[in-house]
């Protein structure tokens, strides 16, 4: 069905042999059929090219990724990159400080906004820090008072303070996930590349899952890799965790199971009349997986087996962080059960809740309360269960915020510098890597574009992004990025 002269469906791909060899049986056939589709995605003459076989290219340090993304743009200066000069010079213009050169037009050139509206402008009057900072852990890394629980885990965390991007508006959310400015078009996200490159950890579960509010940007991941590599959106609702996860009209489990058996028998009869019929074989397998997913997916978000201590740890008893706590607890359960990539977006509304154009103090106080305890709990919980070593946790956002004030009490979008952090799975803890200038305006030391985060994660997962490239879809050096070796253990 999916064969083209260049990409035969009937030629048994290496991947299928691999899966059969792994004893994964019929589910492997469905996945193999998907990979046949992937073969079809090569645009032209794939001489010497083969689809990924699902195995890492080299020994991985980590198996899974929990990707925490704060929609809207977290202030780097008030989270992980303290800038006392802002307070010192608060109320003065940047031109009046010794650091006027940060606004040198040459240094501002990288900005390319997809949506050039009234935001994303230069804000000249410095806005003092809105919260305090303290040193934490043995490493003594400074973390703002808005993130006390994360601060307690700081020795497990590598903070990267020298990130930069190019879109000064919220399409930078997409840019952070794909590595490309939206003006260049739409490209696969990191999660899709991981999903494309690596085989399944658990054939009963989707391998790439999305939780929370995916705000501004398009809800697609696979793009030219295909819709099979889109994240599967899940809800924290055991009764209805995924689209069409349970019958939308009354039908007993037993009747449905009976139906699935009949479907399988009928499809098998039809396949025999059409043999060889890989498409029908794949469809039979997809029904078996779907049937198992109906029970395995609700289990991911069913917390009845969790202890009260665990629930309290994640803050499930506290209204201000309950929702995010449940998402992170679900994420831990997913990692335990073998979900590869869990993408969690926090902060709905507008272009993202963290987008504090006004009243930054209230905005970030409230939002950090919502995420801090659950994130601290996640790191602690993963560590206690021995999962942190094989799980990469990423805390990210699309850009930083301006050192200058917008209106009386807000900060505007700032693509020139921002902070992200990583922990677990092969990441060195207790390190602050890279630096911004005295105002937090530009990343100046060990500058990293967003794809360096991608490259770091892929390396830890044992993947070489160059080997995942598809003929006809040339990627640039900047798409691949470079691993941030300094933060690797």
């Amino acid at each position: 069905m999916c064969g083209t002269p260049d990409h035969p469906s009937l030629r048994v791909p290496a991947r299928r042999r691999f899966l059969h060899g792994m004893g994964q049986g019929i589910a492997g056939v469905a996945l193999a059929a998907l990979l046949d589709r992937d073969r079809g995605r090569a645009l032209a003459n794939p001489v010497g090219w083969t689809a990924p076989d699902g195995r890492p290219h080299f020994a991985p340090r980590a198996k899974s990724v929990i990707w925490l993304f704060m929609n809207g743009g977290v202030s780097h200066m008030e989270s992980f990159d303290p800038k006392p000069m802002l307070t010192k010079y608060g109320g003065r213009t940047i031109a009046e400080t010794p650091y006027a050169d940060v606004q040198n037009p040459e240094k501002l050139k990288l900005e390319r906004a997809m949506v050039p509206d009234a935001n994303g402008q230069q804000r000249n009057v410095l806005f003092p820090l809105q919260t305090g900072f303290r040193k934490h852990g043995q490493s003594g890394i400074e973390v703002s008072d808005w993130f006390p629980h994360v601060a307690r885990q700081i020795d497990r965390i590598a903070v990267v303070r020298s990130m930069w991007t190019t879109d000064s508006n919220h399409m930078a959310q997409t840019q952070f996930h794909t590595g490309r400015n939206m003006l260049d078009g739409e490209f696969p996200t990191l999660g899709a590349w991981v999903h494309y490159g690596l085989g399944s950890l658990n054939d009963n579960l989707p391998q790439f899952v999305s939780l929370g509010t995916r705000e501004y940007w398009n809800k697609k991941d696979g793009l030219y890799l295909g819709p099979a590599h889109d994240a599967v959106p899940l809800r924290i609702d055991p009764a209805n965790p995924l689209d069409f996860g349970t019958p939308e009209r009354p039908m007993s489990r037993q009747a449905q199971e009976q139906g699935f058996q009949l479907i399988k028998r009928l499809n098998s009869l039809a396949a025999a009349d059409h043999a060889p019929d890989p498409a029908t074989a794949a469809r039979i397998a997809s029904y078996e997986l779907a049937f198992r997913m109906q029970s395995s997916v609700p289990d991911l978000v069913d917390f009845s087996q969790e202890t009260e201590e665990t629930k309290t740890l994640y803050g499930l008893d506290q209204p201000h962080c309950r929702d995010f706590g449940m998402q992170l607890l679900a994420a831990r359960r997913m990692v335990e059960r073998g979900v590869r990539f869990i993408q969690i977006q926090h902060g709905g509304g507008g272009a993202g809740a963290w987008d504090a154009h006004g009243d930054l103090r209230n905005n970030h106080t409230k939002l950090s309360l919502a995420v801090d305890q659950p994130i601290g709990a996640l790191l602690e919980d993963l560590h206690r269960r021995g999962l942190l070593d094989e799980t990469i946790v990423v805390f990210a956002t699309e850009f930083g915020r301006t050192p200058g004030s917008q209106g009386a009490d807000g900060r505007d979008h700032h693509p020139f510098a921002f902070s992200v952090w990583m922990a677990g799975g092969g990441v060195r803890g207790g390190i602050a890597h890279g630096a911004t200038d005295e105002l937090g305006f530009h990343a100046v030391e060990h500058r990293h574009y967003v794809t360096d985060i991608h490259a770091t994660i892929l390396k830890l997962l044992g993947l070489d992004s160059h080997r995942l490239e598809i003929p006809g879809r040339k990627r640039l050096a900047i798409d691949h990025g470079l691993p941030i070796e300094a933060i690797l253990a």
């Binding site: 064969g3 589709r37 509206d117 819709p227 009747a255 499809n267 469809r283």
Partner: protein
């Protein structure tokens, strides 16, 4: 290589070579071990397996068939030895004396090949492999062929109608398509599969031509008929069915990137509101068999070809869809890219930043194509009966900024336009088979002054009268004793507005009539008098509005205790002042009244400022650029247009394209395995007057189309051509997302056959039973159910995905749509049996199973299938209520059987 830049040639001579040798020695230090091992591994094999592909990727675009920079080609070893302007590129056996090696290994980026920005440098390992291969004598494969010249590329050649061959298997041949295929079968030793069963053909034709399954009664009638031409009759009937336009309209909507508007929340950013007018035009045009060339002409330039025909102007939705409110470059990039890919099979987009690496398309050609589109903007034209353009209007294009320059962007960067010259419209030289003649197009008044459309005045009047009626009703509904001053003031405004409109219409019409007479001179007193009364009526409207405002402030004052801040007093003063000025203005003479609105330019924000861009007016003359482009694209001599169209049509009938790279017919694309089929059909398309129905007819009446898709029985053939490259059997096609849903509703008898009109909003889709192509579908708003089945990507969808994923199984087994349809189908089949049976006996389970198979899969079940179905029916009945989980009351076993069949792989497949 040998001569990269003019300065390089000055460096010829021994001194330079010595210098290179030193650098080379440095850069290759430590690599000799690698080099040795590479040689050990068969230098010839290293060349053919590793180095040749590497050179092809990094070097051939400038030193191969496409271009010969510095006179050098690297596409064969003998050409390397022959060398270019700077001499031989390789000296066999002497790596350190070979320019090829020194240039790829040069430590100086300004000297190294490939040049910066043109390709990645070779890695040290690759350099070592090159060195080792040269050192080993630069062995070459026997008869190494150079790259072909772009001028010889198949798709750039004029289309020639191929002679139809006489073939051995003449009995199989139904039309020339089969003769060409049969010739290939003969050459490859393949035997075509037999014709599919009648039932399968009936279902295949229905799904393919109208996107809906056959009625069981029809299947029975045809299976019973002795008429030998039943097939041709069915084809004609289906091609004449209006649902054919809906089915194929959806295919072309994929290719032409149909999308409803999207943005951030309610803010319109992409595509157009009311773009559905274009969708309706597509459906209607296909049903009317509007020639393909004419469809393209209208989509590209109806505003220049038919400026006073609103029905045809709808076609320009094709271009209006590319609108992007914030960035003109992105908008035009998409236009150039998809005119190239969708209509011409050319990846013009690859030339935005640099010369094309595979096709003879210099960077400037990208901007030459862009220049055709540079002046165009989008506007909404008023439609009869609706004055509010936010509720309806036809999105169409017009040349708004006729002198907009086109600048080449250095390296494709928008921030680096080369303002030294404006690039004129033009087409790539290799397809310039005729001169492009661009003549300005004077537009009729009705295009540049759309308020002259007769329905504009009518729509405005109707809307003004509705406002008066509403205001009268509001006054009438105020309870006795309540204050009516504000309501009455509003009524006065509505009436004054109506009067003002009437006067403006009269004045405008009088002026137009006088203009028609073309007498010249001053306007006659009658015309001027009407203008003065229009002006006066507008001023009286201003007075009424000022009175209303004052009345509102006075009411507010009454309702408020005190006025501590003096705000109301200030408002009162200002409202009284406004009224006074309005009254004073009434008697001031004037003849300049506000023109009516008949269309509105769709506002852009290119300037990146907070404010909107200055309004673009509707010029009286269009540039004629797009008309010229459309005429060139649709010229029967164009080598690409007809071939690309045939490939799209063939793919959707046959399940696989003739050219697998749907949007790339260039040298990087794949050549067709059956080029004669492509060219013969392209000739048929053009010679039939670009009739798509003619093409459909040819394809579906071929023996190739009628073959079974099952490979069973064709083992010997399958072993020779396992991938069916030469079409010895049919390809199964997984139904597209829309067809999955439409078919289910059709079988349930619940499909709402209403055609056309505004799209069904997302929130209403669950309850809607309209065909799926009418669902609102944009980059952001997608239907949940359709999304599971590879819904079209509105950004680019030249070929629909046919994935098989568990989410499809979940959607088909759990969606309310499927359960409701299954129940309706079960009822329907039961009713049918009751109606058919004169006795009161009910249909037994095996009778029901047979009916369900025919209704859902288009065929009767086999004995084995009947047996498993009967078993399941019995099981379901046995377990009813035996289980704690919720189940509907009553016997639903037959509904469950239907539900199972809707999940059958055959339901989802055109076999």
């Amino acid at each position: 290589m040998a001569g990269l830049s003019p300065t390089r040639s000055l460096h010829s001579g021994l001194a330079w070579l010595a210098c290179v040798a030193v650098r080379l020695a440095v850069s290759m230090g430590g690599l000799s071990a690698v080099a040795v091992s590479a040689v050990a591994a068969e230098p010839l094999a290293v060349y053919t397996d590793t180095l040749k592909p590497l050179l092809a990727e990094r070097c051939y675009s400038c030193h191969g068939g496409l271009k010969q920079e510095a006179g050098l080609r690297l596409d064969t070893v003998s050409l390397m030895r022959q060398g270019g302007d700077s001499g031989a590129a390789i000296a066999a056996g002497q790596a350190d004396a070979s320019l090829l090696l020194s240039r790829v290994a040069d430590a100086d980026p300004s000297q190294r090949m490939p040049p910066e920005g043109e390709g990645e440098p070779l890695t040290p390992e690759q350099v070592a492999q090159v060195a080792a291969w040269i050192a080993a004598g630069a062995p070459a494969p026997a008869n190494e062929q150079p790259e072909s010249s772009p001028a010889d590329h198949w798709a750039f050649q004029p289309r020639v109608r191929p002679a139809v061959p006489a073939v051995a298997n003449a009995a199989w041949v139904k039309n020339p398509i089969d003769a060409f295929l049969s010739q290939a079968h003969q050459q490859q030793g393949l035997s075509p599969q037999p014709e599919a069963s009648r039932a399968m053909l009936i279902r295949r034709l229905h799904l393919d031509l109208i996107g809906l399954p056959p009625e069981p009664g029809l299947i029975a009638d045809i299976e019973a008929t002795a008429a030998s031409d039943w097939y041709e009759h069915l084809v004609e009937r289906l091609l004449a069915d209006p649902r054919h336009g809906e089915r194929w309209g959806r295919h072309w909507m994929d290719v032409w990137r149909y999308s409803d508007w999207w943005g951030l929340g309610e803010e319109h950013r992409n595509s157009q509101k009311h773009i559905w007018h274009w969708r309706d035009w597509i459906v209607e045009s296909l049903n009317a068999d509007l020639p393909y060339d004419e469809m393209l002409r209208q989509m590209l330039a109806a505003d220049e070809l038919y400026p006073d025909d609103p029905a045809k102007l709808r076609a320009t939705g094709y271009l209006a869809r590319n609108f992007f409110v914030y960035n003109r470059h992105q908008w035009l990039d998409e236009t150039v890219e998809h005119v190239g890919k969708g209509l011409l099979g050319l990846t013009m987009n690859c030339s935005k930043c640099h010369d094309h690496k595979y096709d003879p398309i210099p960077q400037a050609d990208y901007y030459r194509l862009r220049a055709f589109f540079e002046p165009y903007h989008v506007r909404l034209d008023m439609v009869p009966g609706e004055a509010d353009l936010s509720r309806d209007g036809i999105p169409r294009v017009f040349d708004g900024v006729c002198d907009a320059p086109t600048y080449l962007f250095v390296r494709g960067e928008e921030s680096r336009p080369d303002r030294s010259r404006s690039i004129p419209p033009g087409v790539p030289e290799f397809v310039a088979f005729r001169p492009i003649s661009i003549e300005p197009v004077p537009l009729p008044k009705i295009a540049s002054e759309p308020e002259r459309q007769p329905w504009a005045a009518e729509a405005h009047m109707a809307s003004a009268r509705r406002a008066v009626a509403a205001a009268e009703q509001a006054v009438g509904e105020i309870a006795a004793g309540k204050d009516t001053t504000v309501a009455e003031a509003k009524l006065a405004v509505a009436r004054a507005s109506c009067t003002s409109l009437e006067r403006r219409i009269e004045a405008a019409r009088a002026r137009w009539e006088w203009e028609e007479l073309k007498t010249g001179g001053d306007q006659p007193p009658l015309v001027r008098g009407l203008a003065r009364s229009a002006v006066r009526a507008e001023r009286e409207l201003a007075v009424a509005s000022a009175r209303q405002k004052l009345a509102e402030v006075e009411v507010r004052k009454k309702a408020t205790d005190g006025d501590p801040k003096g705000a109301i007093a200030a408002d009162l003063t200002s409202a009284r002042g406004e009224l006074e000025s309005a009254l004073a203005a009434v008697d001031v003479p004037g003849e300049s009244f506000t023109p009516l609105v008949g269309a509105a330019w769709v506002q852009t924000h290119f300037n990146g400022t907070k404010g909107k861009d200055p309004i673009v007016a509707f010029p009286a003359v269009s540039t004629g650029r797009r008309r010229a482009l459309a005429e060139w694209i649709t010229d029967p001599r164009h080598p690409l247009t007809s071939r690309v169209a045939v490939n799209h049509i063939w793919l959707r009938h046959m399940g696989q394209p003739l050219v697998t790279t749907m949007f790339d017919f260039g040298r990087k694309g794949n050549a067709p395995l059956n080029p004669q089929v492509l060219d013969w059909l392209a000739s048929e398309l053009v010679d039939s007057g670009w009739s798509m129905k003619h093409l459909h007819r040819l394809i579906v009446t071929s023996a190739a189309y009628r073959m079974a898709s099952s490979p069973v029985g064709g083992d010997a053939t399958a072993s020779r051509d396992p991938d069916n490259r030469f079409l010895w059997r049919r390809e199964g096609i997984r139904l597209e997302s829309q067809a999955v849903r439409d078919c289910m509703l059709a079988i349930a008898g619940t499909l709402d056959s209403t055609m056309g009109g505004p799209p069904v909003p997302t929130a209403e889709q669950a309850a809607s039973r309209r065909r799926s192509l009418y669902f609102f579908h944009s980059n952001i708003d997608r239907n949940r159910f359709l999304t599971a089945f590879d819904e079209a990507d509105v950004k680019e969808c030249y070929r629909r995905d046919q994935s098989i994923v568990p989410q499809q199984a979940l959607a088909l087994s759990n969606a309310a749509l499927v359960h409701d349809s299954a129940a309706a189908i079960a009822d329907r089949l039961g009713d049918a049996s009751a109606a058919a049976a004169s006795t009161a006996t009910t249909l037994d389970d095996s009778g029901f199973t047979a009916r369900a198979f025919v209704a859902i899969l288009g065929r009767r079940p086999t004995a084995a299938e009947t047996a498993v179905c009967l078993e399941s029916l019995a099981d379901w009945r046995g377990q009813a209520s035996a289980d704690g989980t919720p189940a509907p009351a009553g016997d639903h076993s037959r509904m469950q059987l239907v539900w199972s069949l809707l999940n059958h792989t055959e339901f989802l497949t055109i076999r």
